[in-house]
Amino acid sequence: MTPEEQRFLLVGAGLFVLGAIGFITRRNLILMVLSAELMLHGVSLTLVTFGRMHQTNEGQAFTIFTLTVAACEAGLALSLVLSLYRKSHSLDIQLWSELRESDLSGPVLDSFGERGDATSSYENIPKLTPAGIAPKDPPRASTSASATTSTRT
């Protein structure tokens, strides 16, 4: 590995790491998808460098397939983002961390920062039907307590 190839690999690793930081830290849905694309750039650069190191065209051929998958991913991700935006009228990712049954306890959110403006503004989320039929007359206190816990789970 010559130093010239080594520095191309370093730049590819840097792009990948930057995309990873952006994917973790940003809370905008679109920016997360963009950061994933930045990671793909780093991978493409690394693949091209590997192909040049081994004197084959396979690195470039594989990068073209990466490009194809990236284009598909961008289209699908953006249509998913649009349909999520229709439900919540916001691009905040933390709204969707509350995607759970309403009677369960919430997730531990962002314990190192503030909750932000993550107010859940969406309705019409589907609810699972509770399992089983609730007993008509609870015979004893202990079994009714276990019955209510079983309906919750």
Binding site: M1, A20, V33, E37, E58, Q60, L78, S79, V81
Partner: protein, 273 residues
């Protein structure tokens, strides 16, 4: 590892400066004023230059060196500014600049077709779609969730530990790669010395020897003296010869993805966005 730290102190300093600048620039921190933002950008630029200077000297020409510095620092700097931008439109535009710089690096790697294809696909299609969606979804100006970042300290530290480990691996060990010499492989498929040895074992098992043995390695995509790496002819032979089924599959994937995107995206009769 200690010898690596002793031999490459510039890399460590560059990485630390770079991470500090990213943390400084992250939304939700102090860098909301323009002057503080400029200080953060300067810290990142200093770290980047230090990191790139320490990443090994090449024996290439001076012009190639300058091109590499411009494209590498441009790509990494636009990446930093993209992930720290408070406005998503600016983030998309910085991503376009990072894409252009990456295409410049592709050109330096003798991949002109790839550079052109990446520019067409990304700058022509992906960025435009992203900008369209941003303007469709964020009509009410700056949103609160763009002004904060979640867990930026841990994310930056762990990511830069990863980057430091990668640079340690790349810089400390001599990785020897068995480079095929360019005159070994004959593009006409006539066997050279190396391929004959590999094919002999296969031929010995076959009942008739007049069948052309299928080589384990792809002969077509190997570069030779007539078709060096990055030659369009060699790349086309590789794509439409070795990877013909993969190309067809990629076309099918594009079709399926476009149908899926149309099916997932909100309809007009479901109301406005």
């Amino acid at each position: 590892m200690m010898t690596w730290i002793q031999h490459h102190p510039m890399t460590i300093v560059g990485l630390v400066l770079w991470a500090t600048g990213i943390l400084w620039l992250m939304p939700g921190k102090k860098a909301s004023k323009p002057r503080a933002h400029m200080i953060g950008v300067l810290i990142v630029a200093l770290g980047l230059v230090t990191f790139c200077l320490s990443s090994g000297k090449a024996q290439s020409e001076f012009a190639d060196d300058v091109m590499f510095w411009v494209f590498a620092i441009g790509a990494l700097m636009s990446g930093v500014l993209m992930i720290t931008a408070r406005n998503p439109v600016y983030a998309a535009l910085w991503f376009a600049l990072a894409t252009l710089s990456t295409c410049g690096l592709f050109l330096l790697q003798h991949a002109p077709f790839l550079a052109a294809a990446t520019i067409i696909v990304y700058a022509g299609a992906v960025i435009v779609t992203f900008l369209f969606v941003i303007m469709l979804a964020q009509q009410s100006g700056a949103a609160g969730y763009d002004q904060r970042s979640s867990q930026s300290l841990f994310a930056t530290i762990s990511a830069f530990v990863l980057l430091g480990a990668i640079s340690l691996t790349l810089q400390s060990e001599k990785i020897d790669i068995a480079r095929p010499s360019l005159d070994v492989v004959d593009s006409s498929g006539a066997s050279s010395a190396a391929t004959e040895n590999m094919g002999a074992a296969i031929i010995a098992d076959l009942p008739s020897t007049d069948i052309t043995p299928v080589m384990p390695g792809n002969v077509m995509s190997k570069a030779d003296a007539d078709h060096p790496v990055g030659n369009l002819k060699g790349l086309g032979k590789s794509l439409f010869g070795d990877y013909l089924f993969a190309v067809e599959l990629a076309g099918t994937l594009l079709l399926v993805a476009s149908i899926g995107a149309i099916a997932i995206a909100p309809r007009r009769e479901q109301g406005a966005i």
